[in-house]
Symmetry: C4
Subunit: 276 residues, 4 copies
């Protein structure tokens, strides 16, 4: 076997491997991706369980072994991906390339700095491949529709957030002045934290106004929050409704000019004026 | 009386009983169903009251007697249903068949395993028959409209839930790293639980960030939750609005063919093409 | 002065008084109503302040005197209303008639049963007259629009509430079985209370799941609550939008047939097909 | 140099300074505004950090020095603004004029009354100039669209708030009667505070019903809050949708007159009547 032949063999192997790892249309690629997703979900569960002290005390060894098993599997997989992909730099710099790297790197780093390993939870992002595997293209379409709706309302949301942040700092400082450190409002940042907890209607109750005047002001803030929470909902709803309108459900063609995209209840063609 | 005659008598009795138990149009069937619903509601209240320790101490005997009374009534009723229904297997395997069985079986099982009996609360599902009894067909229509709206937004909701779950696991793990077990975040699952409690704006306050950086991150999560809570509302609203358009409220009849259900602003009958 | 004359004098006095008390178009009636509303608001504030123990200790005598002053004023006013109104029975049985009676009766009853007097807060309902006084007819129109929107969504809201109640009882019983009395879920009704507190995203935190499985289930309930809270919002929004459509903003008339109520962007009359 | 010449020199200096301070189109004006915004944000952070006791203990001196630095800078800036602006009284009485004054006055007042200085947080409002600097005119347009939507729903919101306030006072008084001071409902105002905390779904949990009947009533209030929170959302959504219809997103130009801003489905130019 001379060098050229060997190169050609390797090249075809790389191509075959590429199809298994990166493609999802072939049975082998599909099987590989499903195994990968199962492995990712199990490995994330292992990391989560490992953080529960009672479980770690009892099954620490087994979890550790599993963790290293998945780390080595993901390391090898990453190496194979790098080897068989066409443009290595582009893959390594892509979103999934970085996530694939972060899926095992922390375990190795964890040998040096222990707490770093919980960063492994970022592995979960790899599961986003699930959309590609199960042909959830339409789901992705839906997600993009959601994203577009949010993006279209971007400026409104920005203005809204800016106003909320200004409001929240001023409310927080006011409550700090009124309630003071004795009632839990230890500083202005704490007051701002309280204002956010209240305006978003989360309401932990770890800090709550104690003086009558503070409670009166808090009541005003809550009723204000009532109106405020209505705004992003309204923005998103309107954007979603608008994006829906752009892709009309009917597709009747005009008899006269043949054009489509008429309203569901149009009686006349809006392009040529002919009766539909 | 020979055998055939006896069979015929029994057959007509079964038919009469079937009309009482399963039909709702006859006066007897209606009365039976109303009695049944009253019995179900009372028996559910008995189970609920029985769980209150002060009530059980004082009226335990009476509640127990009532419980057995209803159990025996429902057992007999189930037997009669099985006897008079045409296709026994299909009834026993249907939703209401299973619920009817679960309405009394736990009391008998409770003789062996005490806590099982509170499962009796599932009896409440039998009350869903109420829609059939009171001719709340339109209500069912409304429920179906709601269901259809939710089903139409199914994919969007699925994508949304998937994104929220991924987000929540990553936020939970981050907060676990920042706050640590000393501040109540005892494990990553606890962190995830906190993230869900916060993002949904429930905010119990049993776990809440204590460190300044944790509170800063929690604030970001809450403001994020602001935007996120707007999404399902927007989806449901748009779907409801769309489903409304498809079932117009007007009921003009066409002069030419007499058919109804035209769009509110239709100029021509969509069935016969005549001018409205 | 003979009897008939006296009667006629009294009759004209009754008429004059009726105009002052019941009418709002005359200057006297307007002045009377404004004084009345000020008196009502002050008397409600007096009742509220009277319930604050520190205030009662210091100003108890003054508050008590004020309370009796307002009670006597409202009693006399009620007597005058009864005297000068045309149909006494109808007024006494009307909404405002009952509220007017409840505005002073509890103080007299309070001589016998002390705590009854806080029921006086119901006086506040008398302030609803404010809409009539300040010609807030349009506001009333808006309120009626809201009411109509809610009424139109009545069946949907009923079905929704019924489903939520069934759900809440079953969730509450399940959590009672899982968490048990040791973790605060002392009975099934308590569990139902917790389920309502959680599903509505209020989240007091006075009762919260402690066991891991309980927290897992609570997370599911919260995410469910996410979807559920979207439903009434969607219903109300759609109903409001629909009621808006019924009163279109444009009022262009068709040149050919003279009819109105065209869509803002209609190019052809939808009644006669002529160009607008 | 005679007096007129000197006046003219000063006048041109004032004009140049005006362009730097008040204009944003020139490079100098732009640079000035960006520096100003950076200074404002830093000074607000200084005030916030100064309120944190641990930070104040360690860096109190530095923060104090920075505070005085910014105060003197803002004082000089205010003086220059007053000097170079055309109509001094109008500027001083305008929104930004008052905010500019409040941005440094509290520090000087703080020499006399210490806690007053935290009012400096109001400086943050100066950052609203950011919209002007970064040509966020469209954002301002969006903000105005939001404002107009809220203003259009003004009467509905007013009626809604009035109803909520009446409801909240009556619920608060009822809960005070049921729960009483022993369970945290120390007075009717406290009850009203609780009712607002509950209806807005904030739910601190600092006050929560303890008696079974109180919990039952609280459950009703929460489910009511469910319906109520849907109302402002519905109002804002409908108003936003309506305001969107009035300002269409398309920008087709008319072939005949070249004007734009036609409705998305207009068949004829609304300015010249030509076919689009």
């Amino acid at each position: 076997m001379d060098k050229t032949e060997r190169n050609s063999v390797w090249s075809s192997r790389r191509k075959a491997l590429f199809e298994v790892i990166f493609e999802t249309d072939t049975p082998a690629g599909r099987t590989f991706d499903i195994c990968l997703i199962v492995a990712i979900v199990i490995s994330v569960l292992v990391v989560m369980l490992d953080s529960v002290s009672t479980v770690r005390t009892r099954f620490g060894g087994a979890l550790n072994a599993l963790e290293w098993f998945f780390t080595i599997v993901f390391t090898i997989e990453y190496g194979l991906r790098l080897w068989c992909v066409g443009n290595r730099r582009r893959y390594a710099a892509s979103f999934f390339g970085v996530v694939d790297l972060l899926a095992f790197a922390p375990t190795w780093l964890g040998l040096l700095v222990p707490p770093v390993r919980y960063v492994l939870i970022i592995r979960l992002l790899r599961v986003l491949r699930i959309f590609r595997v199960f042909k959830l293209a339409q789901c992705l379409g839906e997600a993009q529709a959601l994203m577009r709706a949010l993006a279209a309302g971007r400026q409104r949301i920005f203005v809204f957030l800016f106003a909320v942040l200004t409001l929240v700092v001023i409310i927080g400082a006011t409550m700090y002045l009124i309630e003071g450190p004795d009632n839990g409002f230890t500083s202005i940042p704490t007051g701002v934290y309280w204002a956010i907890v209240t305006l978003t209607t989360v309401g932990y109750g770890d800090i709550s106004p104690q003086t009558p005047f503070g409670q009166f002001l808090a009541s005003l803030v809550m009723i204000l929050g009532y109106a405020i929470i209505a705004v992003p909902t309204g923005i998103v709803t309107v954007e979603l409704a608008r994006s829906d309108k752009k892709t009309p459900p009917t597709s009747r063609a005009c008899r006269h000019c043949g054009r489509r995209a008429h309203d569901a209840d149009a009686a006349f063609c809006k392009y040529c004026g002919g009766r539909l």
